[in-house]
Symmetry: C2
């Protein structure tokens, strides 16, 4: 069974990890959002790629879901003493990733190549692809002005009210090598329970991706459970855009791209509404509290896809 | 008494510190070599400026003379685990300096402005100026090819045999704001016991500096003691260029720029040779093992200048 999973940050990384525990390396390709990437202190930082890779490599901080386990903060404290901006949490170990990525990019490697190198170093055997090797910047349009995603998310703790989104550079971006090929040659595509607006939508906006998905079997996993996001601003964004946050709202957001939809038992009351969209559905426990949960959810989704979607 | 001191790395920083302990802030300007500066992992690193500033601020590692006291190496270890180049010792606290410098330069500040900001943050009250705000790169021409200074010095541990030096970008560089003014308006200029070839010569090569020095009272302190350099490749460089390393060789190197010369008691046998150059001389203990040594040597040099050079 060949699977492509689209993922953003923490929630996406958890399901990606579950899938990697169920599927052989040649059966799984992960396509990761790079719209959150930014330059900070001259370093190229790719938060979602790092979260996915650290999680797959077993290096992630289990408490936060992002950053590294056993992290230290000596550089950050020295930056603070210098009066430098410290709104983005730069751990000492994490910094090495940003430094080496920046160095390799400056030497002419592509982001795909750097990511492949990191995966080798960290013992990650499944394929992890950035959505694009060209820079794309997710801009959150808010009541206090346009904010690059990391500033909105970290510096302003997603407090400003959202009016819309745009992905700067997306028209000039091309899908990273392997992305369109993997989408064209897979049995199922899984949208991980990542933020639809700022984690999955940037990937869908990469030229060629949406067209490839129209010919694929796509299953989305709702990141909205009980009307709330497990983490981050997804529910708040739906509400501020004028859509009551719900599992059905997620399914409607992706619209005709979907063939299947996975949502939480907490939202079982939405069953008639979701079913009215004409989708195959799986209602289960989608909240991943432990590595065992990740694997169990991944297995259920793969079984569901085999049973209900693949002829 | 108004003093300008030209300094490179560790030896220069020690005398600079001694001078700062003897002179009021408005009496001392330090002009620091930036020919060693380089880009590493996308960060702008200024080894001599950092050594001088850390030393003046009391932040320097007393064992090495460079880097910071109580330094930790977590990022460097993570770089090593990633297979990244680790020949340059990047400490966690030190990294904060490079990150914030890089960030401020990218925002349009000059190196002078960044240095002034750091001095404020670190409580340094004497004026520290980079020799130039434009990048100058010291290239060491060796038997294994041309090497940027840090690669020659750190990566190759100054093992290659030296054939010559050049300072890339020097013709386009201008003295940093305040440098020529300080040289024109001082009672004495002190060449700290830094490497003549790669610490002091780059400063002398900045357009306008040599001309300003011809109108000044210059005292050089020999970094060669007993035919050897206390630290680094100065003696080795003299020998490879074809000049037996000695105090007199240092005085001859600076030639007609000098009015006074300070060298070590270990070289008292050179007295006739040095005196034959027509210089005022001070023979004393020039090796600075403790902060008290720095202050004592600085006081002796200032007394010598007052007594012998200033009308």
């Amino acid at each position: 069974m060949k699977v492509v999973a689209l993922a953003g940050g923490v929630g996406g990384a958890k399901l990606a990890d579950g899938l990697a525990r169920c599927l052989a390396p040649q059966e799984l390709t992960l396509v990761v959002n790079t719209g959150d990437d930014f330059l900070h202190f001259g370093l190229k930082i790719c938060p979602d790629l790092d979260t996915v890779c650290y999680t797959l490599a077993g290096l992630a901080n289990p408490e936060t879901g992002w950053g590294r386990a056993g992290e230290t903060w000596n550089t950050l404290r020295a930056l603070e003493a210098l009066g430098a901006p410290t709104w983005f949490q730069l751990g000492d170990q994490d910094l090495a990733t940003h430094l080496e990525r920046t160095r390799r990019l400056a030497e002419g490697e592509t982001l795909s190549e750097v990511t492949r190198f990191f995966c080798q170093q960290w013992g990650i055997r499944h394929r992890v692809l950035p959505m694009s090797d060209q820079p794309v910047r997710t801009i959150v349009e808010t009541d206090i002005g346009d904010l690059p995603f990391q500033e909105y998310f970290v510096k302003y703790r997603f407090e400003p009210s959202v009016r819309g989104f745009r992905f700067e550079g997306i028209a000039q971006a091309t899908a990273a090598p392997g992305v369109l090929e993997a989408l064209a040659d897979c049995d199922v595509v899984i949208f991980c329970p990542s933020n639809p607006w700022v984690s999955i939508d940037p990937i869908l906006a990469v030229p060629g991706v949406r067209e490839a998905l129209l010919r694929a079997r796509v299953v989305a996993v709702s990141p909205i459970v009980g009307g709330r996001a497990l983490k981050g601003p997804a529910a708040k964004m739906f509400a501020e855009i004028g859509i009551p946050p719900s599992a059905q709202a997620v399914a409607l957001h992706y619209g005709s791209l979907l063939k299947g939809f996975v949502y939480d038992r907490a939202d079982v009351a939405e069953e008639p509404a979701v079913r009215s969209l004409g989708l195959r559905t799986l209602v289960t426990d989608t909240v991943m509290r432990s590595p065992a949960d990740r694997r169990r959810l991944a297995e259920e989704i793969l079984d569901f896809a085999r049973r209900e979607l693949i002829p």
